[in-house]
Amino acid sequence: MSDAVLRTQGLSRRFGGLMAASNVAIELQRGKLHALLGPNGAGKTTLINLLSGELRASSGSISYKGDDITRCSADRRSRIGIGRSYQKTNIFPAFTAFENCRLAAQSRTPRVLHIFADAIGYQPVCDAARRALEAAGLDGRAGQIASALSHGEQRQLEIAMVLATAPDVLLLDEPLAGMGAEEVGRMVALLQKLTPGHAILLVEHDMDAVFAVADVITVMVDGQVLESGPPAQIRSSAAVRQAYLGDGVDA
């Protein structure tokens, strides 16, 4: 049974004369990983920003679990279950990896009025943080200051933080960026483990990884959806091949 968790219709965003995203219709379903491909400048990050709420849509609509969220702020979208990770690592550099995740998990139970209780003592949030770190493979590095982590570990922390917020939708912007082969393998395994319980949108350049995990692939060019469908369809599409001509990618 297809249950669309996140759906857009006619979603567009213009910057002056430039249409960064034009008439995008995309659907995320629970238990499915939807990959977003396209050459640089295709509008992939713009689309993620529109979905996460960091960019306001110029026209079109976004609905989440049946409700229209087009006008919702970014923080509200996170609270209702739309989580997002960043292409450029966006952590709290001065805090430990654990505190990074603990803070992320705290967003679910803010306990603002408990001003006399040390937050470290609140087990449910700490447990959620530990679970997120474990899922991302960082349990051994919890006490490390985030800025001192290796690049790959920081990418793992990036994912751990969004996992700690227990979202229903995961918008992942190039989680594999800058990772080595072994780390990529670990991340792909993580993605496969996460897929059944979430609706995932994955923006990535690593084709092997994408074709290994994706259930649906949408290809964007110049802000518009070129083609959308199962991996086999995309792999054999002439239009897609042409769009990628010269990128040296073996689709």
């Binding site: 430990t96 505190e99 001003i115 040390d118």
Partner: protein, 320 residues
């Protein structure tokens, strides 16, 4: 015991015993410094821990002070236990209202807007008859600390006042320390570290900033109240932007981000001011030059010299 703890304990002991050693003049001077320390700590919550640089904090100090001036009866003493909370409430309320306007502003814009609002308050008190105009208000009596006939201490005595202020300063310090470890306090520090990500994680950042601004304002109001109590008069100059600039200076003197910084900065600032004033009437030149040199060559403040009081980071390995 760590070096930090020992020096802290020693400093506390020195402060506690101080009135027995010095003359009344010095007791009153240190009282003034401790009041400024409260003021500085309140701003540190905003600047050092939430990342909001306000150049208008003196406005809330002033509102706390003026509350006492306005509420104190002409021919009788005010009651401490009624007027002090009233002052904090008034300052906090003013901070809430101003905050609603300014908290959405970012960076440099925020600095300018807070300065502008503080000036507005200055003009209200300076130009209208509401607060006695440019002359201000004189209070004939110090507030009385009685509850139901029982008066535990006499604020007209310099020594009693000293210990009252000392206790207030300690209370504020402990309160802020505890607050910063709470979920709310940690969220504030998260906002300072990476506001964008905090929003993305689902925190309603605007509300947190507003709360921080309001609380900082209320605490500044406490300092203002104590100051009015000590000096017995209020005038618009306490809201001048020089005062807002001086309290920021105290933070950079003491070093941001550790609550001690506010206290150290207050002592350092008053010491500098007294020193320069004894040297020349053009002491502001020396102060200005000191500020410039400080920012150019020692931006971490005095605290960065000793390495004694490190920036306390939440989640740090030796976070105690």
């Amino acid at each position: 015991m760590s070096r930090k703890r020992i020096s802290f304990a020693v400093a506390l002991a020195l402060l506690a015993l101080f009135p027995f050693a010095g003359a009344t003049f010095y007791t009153e001077l240190v009282t003034k410094v401790m009041i400024l320390a409260i003021f500085a700590m309140s701003l540190d919550l905003l600047v050092g821990y939430t990342g909001l640089v306000s150049f208008g904090h003196a406005a809330f100090f002033g509102i706390g002070a003026y509350t006492l001036g306005l509420v104190a009866p002409k021919y009788d003493a005010a009651n401490l236990w009624l007027t002090l909370p009233a002052a904090m409430l008034a300052a906090g309320l003013a901070a809430l209202v101003v905050g609603i306007f300014v908290v959405r502003a970012k960076g440099i814009y925020f600095i300018m807007v807070t300065l502008a609002f503080a000036q507005m308050f200055y003009f209200v008190f300076h130009d209208t008859k509401f607060g006695g105009g440019s002359d201000g208000i004189s209070m004939n009596f110090k507030p009385v600390a009685s509850i139901g006939g029982f008066t535990p201490f006499d604020l007209a005595s310099a020594t009693h006042l000293y210990y009252f202020v000392f206790a207030a300063m300690l209370l504020v310090f402990v309160f802020l320390r505890v607050l910063l470890r709470s979920a709310f306090g940690r969220a504030l520090q998260g906002i300072r570290s990476n506001e964008h990500r905090m929003r993305s994680l689902g925190f309603p950042v605007y509300l947190y900033k507003l709360a921080s601004f309001t609380l900082a304002g209320a605490l500044a109001g406490l300092a203002g109240y104590l100051s009015a109590m000590q000096f017995g008069f209020v005038n618009p100059e306490i809201i001048s932007w020089h005062e807002s600039g001086n309290v920021l200076l105290m933070l950079i003197l003491g070093g941001l981000g550790s609550l001690y910084g506010g206290v150290i900065g207050a002592f350092a600032f008053v010491a500098l001011q007294e020193l320069y004033q004894s040297v020349t009437t053009h002491w502001q030149l020396l102060l200005g030059a000191t500020i410039i040199l400080l920012v150019m060559f020692l931006p971490g403040g005095l605290a960065s010299i000793g390495g004694l009081f490190k920036r306390t980071l939440v989640g740090d390995a030796d976070d105690e």
